[in-house]
Amino acid sequence: MTDQAAVEARNAARHYGSGQSVVKALDDVSLTIRKGEFFTLLGPSGCGKTTLLRLIAGFETPTSGQILLSGQDITDIPPNKRKVNTVFQSYALFPHLSVAANIAFGLEMLGRPKAETAARVEEMLALVRLDQMADRKPAMLSGGQQQRVALARALAPGPEVLLLDEPLSALDLKLRKEMQLELKRLQTETGITFVFVTHDQEEALTMSDRIGVMRAGKLQQVGGPREIYNGPVNRFVADFIGETNFLTGTLEAGRVRLPSGEMLDVPEATGQGEVTLAIRPEQIRIDPEGALEARLTQTVYFGTDTHCHLQLKDGTEIVARLQSPPSGDVGLSIGETLRLSPVPGSVQVLEGD
């Protein structure tokens, strides 16, 4: 990975319709994706992820703004002249062509010599472990195999950037986990910049070098998985990535006064006024000296850990995730009153909604 930009979006916007019923599928997004990184666009369905990929691939032109590839403005260049390839959500394999012919397609269109194309197809088939399937038609392959062909076909021409639109969403859980590892391996081996789209936060956290979180056509936050998980910039990001408890209160000199009157130490917070606090369930401890009083309403056993549903004095419902002891029983009874404290440094003070 380097600091050179592979893809840049500058104030890119894409609107559909006009007047009253305009849909801002992409609303002024500026973003730099670095050469050689595994970049993930993460967000709920309809937030504009596919639209952004289409702008990069060239299937759509931005309503305003620019798209740059390796520093060059490609906004007005048609898709067949961009050194970018796509793995489509539906795979879009050519049904009348064999696996090998599908993989060879891009190279043929580029006018590469026959021998070179054939060698490259062999190489790609080996890379995605489909050597035996070269002569089959796509319809004769399983979903996972079709997925690999789509990957091999997009990688064969050696693009500068590979775009992947929710490529794993059609696979079952086990296959998905397998393909996650496989994709990560391919990205590391080829060194190609991957722009990966998903709505699955766990997938994003495990695979990415960096993540861009999107919401309603806007980019919310860009950063590494740890940065996003541990330092969400707003309530939306905190809520979308993993589970989070939200508390509201008033910030006064490094402490937050909750509606119950209890005070929480938040040494890193500055300023004052109404704030929202985010605390991860696994960052809450049972602590006789703890600042918060809560009543246990329910426990749910999840194997490695146990989720304790608790109600604070002011009525706020929160969840604490405790590691299950070897006996499996955390030794708490429903209705019991406990004292809690967040792990120092784990409380996030959020701005806005």
């Binding site: 691939a57 060239g58 299937f59 048609p78 898709p79 067949n80 002249k81 970018v84 390839n85 796509t86 489509f88 539906s90 879009a92 394999l93 050519f94 049904p95 009348h96 397609f105 891009g106 269109m109 580029l110 319809a139 076909r153 997009a154 021409p157």
Partner: protein, 267 residues
């Protein structure tokens, strides 16, 4: 509760009605085919097996001429109609849904909705004016008329084929550096080819069978097989008509079988 599913085939009288319907459908045709091999001069009295009427039809210059004309006409109409229908289908399906799409479908399918006799009269008057102005009396009028009413028949299978094809396929081709023409040549056209072939065959059969429009549009001496047969039936009816009909039937069944094989959903 042990209510059984409603099954119409189990209702009393169903089998009788079904058999009666099939007899009505196939008996006349079977009878016609059998009597085409009749050795006698009658279409009603059996005089033994013979290929006599096929030989007579084969030797008949009027039949020969009408057959050639029918085939030329059907082939021309099939080619022109499927070419037009291909363009129409590409224009109406290879894009996002658009306003007025249904209206355009209705416009394209006009010949299916206007009564044929009305079209025939309209064409007669229209072509009469052109004939008068240009003096041209060739087969062109029939070819134009047949091409026109075959378009919707060609359009249906081609459109169905294209609608079953994901638009993403063309995107994928463009993504893999294919120019718009290469995309059409390498992806769209090969994938829609069975639809085009099916449309052409259906058009061929429809044209081959047409009487009303042909009867109105044809100039003197431009009989097709169906109009020749109609003319014969007005005079003496001989098993020669059975023989010609049977030959036409065989050709049509072959074409339609090919049509169904082409439009069959592939696994």
């Amino acid at each position: 509760m042990s209510r059984r599913d409603f099954n119409i085939a189990a209702m009393p009288g169903f089998a009788t009605i079904a058999i009666a319907a099939f007899v009505l459908l196939y008996m006349p045709i079977v009878t016609m085919v059998i009597y085409s091999f009749n050795a006698s001069d009658s279409v009603a009295l059996w005089g033994g097996f013979s290929l006599r009427w096929y030989a007579i039809a084969w030797e008949n210059d009027f039949v020969k001429e009408a057959t050639v004309r029918s085939l030329v006409l059907a082939a021309s109409a099939a080619v022109i109609a499927s070419a037009l229908a291909t363009l129409a289908a590409l224009g109406t399906t290879r894009r996002k849904r658009f306003k007025g799409q249904t209206f355009i479908y209705v416009m394209i399918n006009q010949p299916l909705m206007v009564p044929e006799i009305v079209t025939a009269v309209a064409l007669l008057i229209f072509f009469a004016a052109i004939k008068k102005a240009t003096g041209y009396t060739g087969l062109g009028y029939l070819i134009l008329a047949h091409s026109a009413f075959c378009v919707p028949f060609a359009y249906l299978p081609i459109r169905a084929r294209l609608e079953g094809m994901d638009l993403t396929l063309e995107r994928a081709a463009a993504d893999l550096y294919a120019t718009p023409f290469q995309t059409f040549r390498r992806i769209t056209l090969p994938l829609m080819a069975p639809g085009i072939a099916a449309g052409a065959m259906l058009s061929f059969v429809i044209s081959l069978d047409d009487v009303i429009i042909t009867e109105f549009v044809k100039s003197a001496g431009q009989d097709t097989l169906p109009t020749y047969m109609l003319g014969q039936l007005r005079r003496a009816v001989t098993p020669e008509v059975n023989a010609i009909s049977t030959a036409l039937l065989v050709l049509t069944v072959l074409m339609l079988t090919a049509f169904f094989l082409l439009t069959r959903k592939r696994g």
